[in-house]
């Protein structure tokens, strides 16, 4: 269960609006190892969802992937034909979304929607597709799967819909599952159930998961490694242990400190001053500089380099340039030495 399954390098996705080109994602580089859960965390507008849609080839007009590579098992998805992408989507890379209620088609039954996936990728008979669908529903912990096949999405609760979505994503046994804020719309007790389910599936099927969220608690609970994104860039990357214990980037530090803790009462929360910039708002220098307490004069001038460390961690901040071990200005994937496998949490 080793090996890299997905490599994203220098991904750039822009939206072409009346105000010209607005980059939603600029220079995102990471790799996803087989069987790991990679967290992507950041606030609204940081480009985390656009990154996932870019991988799926589902960025819609007026958006477009304008640069970089997405290598899936050696094939560059940015260059793949529409037909090839359709074969990969749902079969090799599947996705689940934030709002499970609206992500299911209201006029088709659960069964029909599940079986559609099989029909698209495997030439299964109706009977065997039906059997597989029912099995899949049972696997995600839905009771009375048989009857559920005839239900419509509006007859189920949010938590059940998300289970159906997961079943739908897993039915073709994909190697990569992209989960875009899958628990944000759910209550805490239901969120816990879904997180548990995803951990189990990850363990059982060795599926690699990209888990997008804004909730640091969720990241700490489920992920092996994390990317922190800000304004379309990866600002820090590391295993959850190093990232939470010794965050490097001032933004990561601020973010971790500003979360109220359910275990203890802090007298005062740390808060990052200012507000989240919209994509394309900051044209020069480090996008976090205006909110950064440790910003240097040159932070407003130079785009900081993506500094990578031996152990696979990386940070995009001028403060660490002095102690850099290995610097690459544009962070090409081949330039950094292979990191040791991240430690499994379970």
């Amino acid at each position: 269960m080793t090996g890299t399954i997905l490599e994203v390098s220098q991904l750039k996705t822009s939206f072409f609006t009346e105000n010209g080109e607005v980059p939603a994602v600029s220079d995102v580089t990471f790799r996803l190892e087989k069987g790991e859960i990679l967290g992507v965390v950041g606030e609204s507008g940081c480009g985390k969802s656009v990154t996932s849609l870019s991988i799926m080839g589902l960025v819609e007009q007026p958006g477009k992937v304008v640069g970089g590579h997405i290598a899936f098992k050696g094939e560059d998805l940015t260059q793949a034909s529409a037909k090839k992408m359709r074969q990969i989507r749902g079969n090799d890379i599947a996705m689940i979304y934030q709002d499970p209620m609206s992500a299911l088609n209201p006029v088709h039954t659960i069964g029909a929607q599940l079986m559609e996936c099989l029909g698209l990728h495997h030439k299964a008979t109706r009977k065997s597709a039906r059997r597989q669908a029912i099995e899949c529903l049972e696997r995600v912990g839905l009771p009375q799967a048989e009857q559920l096949m005839h239900y419509y999405p509006h007859q189920l609760s949010g938590g059940m819909c998300q289970r159906v979505m997961i079943a739908m994503a897993m039915i073709c046994e994909p190697e990569v599952l992209i989960a875009d804020e899958p628990t944000t719309a759910l209550d805490v007790t239901i969120q816990a159930q879904i997180l548990e389910l995803m951990k189990t599936l990850n363990r059982e099927f060795n599926t690699s998961i990209i888990f997008i969220t804004h909730d640091l608690g969720v990241v700490a609970e489920i992920c092996d490694r994390v990317l922190v994104m800000y304004n379309g860039r990866v600002v820090e990357q590391g295993t959850i242990h190093t990232l939470f214990k010794a965050p490097k980037h001032p933004y990561t530090k601020g973010l971790i400190q500003s979360v109220p803790d359910v275990r203890e009462k802090k007298q005062r929360l740390y808060s990052i001053p200012g507000m989240v910039p919209s994509p394309g708002e900051i044209k020069k220098g480090c996008p976090f500089a205006p909110r950064c307490e440790r910003a240097l004069a040159q932070c407003y001038e130079i785009e900081p380099p993506f500094i990578k460390y031996e152990n696979g961690d990386a940070v995009r901040c001028l403060l660490y340039e002095a102690e850099k071990k290995e610097v690459t200005t544009h962070g090409r994937i081949g330039d950094f030495t292979r990191s040791p496998q991240p430690k499994k949490v379970f």
Partner: protein, 328 residues
């Protein structure tokens, strides 16, 4: 705990909604959004109300201002029963109880400038003349950390956090005694959420405000509240001081709720209580204890007998048969 003066007391509040449809006219389905809720808020404290979606926390908050008319129960504000007031008297009372909503963009009329929005409560309650009002608005903007140039601009020209500051300034305008904040930081990013929480704390200190803080986020509630009430299916299942409730939760639901909050610390290895199944629908609540369908510790009695909210330790109330003998 030091006994302090009670500002507001809710007694046995209930709100039943008629659900149109299958029930027909003779047997309308009753949705018991809030089913007998009692609590009190002392001057200067923050009472947090926490619970999952559909537990009735928002309805409770809105009933305190009679934005939703209670089906039954009393709301004593400074000893006066608000449910007995005429509409006219109630409008006057609203000067003392203000509200902050979850989505600031929706709660600010898009066609009014920030100046107009902040002046409106002053005008309604006939406070000051034109120039005094303008002065007050400018002062308010400063208080919540906004620039004076905000005066002539429209809500959509601000970011989410700034809009919430505007909404808070509007609530502050008439120097209320109580502010009901309904999920005021849920729509905000983490970094901005911290700013608004700090602002609320600062304002409380500066103006001796009393808050009723409604949220689904247990971390946020812990941070801001002095006491916390946990709601489930229209009832309060536990109410205690924040420290007691979080360090020693009594009700199995509270225990599960606190244990399932993801902790931003990968080393943390607390035990998680995973609840099975979904929250039942409020229009078809279970018999007995509303939580018994998901409770890991449910007993036979829980299915039939509704537990009452009773003191189990000093100032720690819980509604669970585990702590009180079942009364036939």
């Amino acid at each position: 705990m030091v006994e302090s003066e009670t500002l507001l007391e809710a007694r046995n509040l209930r709100k039943y909604f008629d659900v149109k449809g299958s029930g027909g006219r003779k047997h309308p389905n009753l949705l018991k959004a809030v089913d007998g809720v009692s609590f009190s808020v002392s001057k200067g404290e923050t009472l947090g109300i926490v619970g999952e979606s559909g537990c009735g926390k928002s309805t409770t908050g809105r009933m305190l201002l009679r934005l939703i008319e209670p089906t039954a129960g009393q709301i004593l504000f400074e000893g006066r029963d608000l449910t007995q007031l005429s509409q006219r008297e109630m409008r006057k009372q609203r000067r003392h109880i203000q509200m902050v909503f979850q989505n600031p963009l929706a709660s600010l009329n898009p066609r009014r400038t920030v100046g107009e929005l902040l002046e409106q409560p002053l005008k309604v309650h006939r406070m000051g003349n034109v120039s005094e009002r303008k002065q007050r608005v400018m002062a308010l903007l400063k208080t919540v950390g906004l620039n004076e140039t905000a005066y002539g601009r429209y809500p959509h020209q601000f970011s989410g956090g700034q809009r919430q500051r505007i909404a808070i300034a509007r609530a502050l305008a008439v120097t209320p005694k109580l502010i009901v904040a309904d999920e005021p930081v849920s729509a905000l990013d983490v970094s901005v959420q911290a700013q608004i929480l700090n602002l609320l704390k600062d304002l409380q200190e500066a103006y001796q405000l009393t808050y009723l803080f409604i949220s689904h986020d247990l971390g946020v509630v812990r941070h801001i509240s002095d006491r916390v009430a946990v709601m489930y299916l229209g009832r309060i299942v536990e109410i205690a001081s924040t420290e007691d409730l979080y360090n020693d939760p009594k009700h199995p639901y509270t225990q599960a709720l606190i244990s399932t909050v993801p902790i931003p610390d990968p080393e943390y290895s607390g035990e998680r209580v995973l609840l099975q199944g979904d929250i039942p629908s409020a229009s078809e609540p279970p018999s007995g204890c509303p939580f018994h369908t998901r409770c890991p510790l449910a007993m036979e009695a829980c299915k039939t007998v509704v537990p009452r909210l009773q003191e189990s330790e000093a100032d720690h109330f819980v509604s669970c048969h585990l702590y009180h003998k079942v009364e036939a």
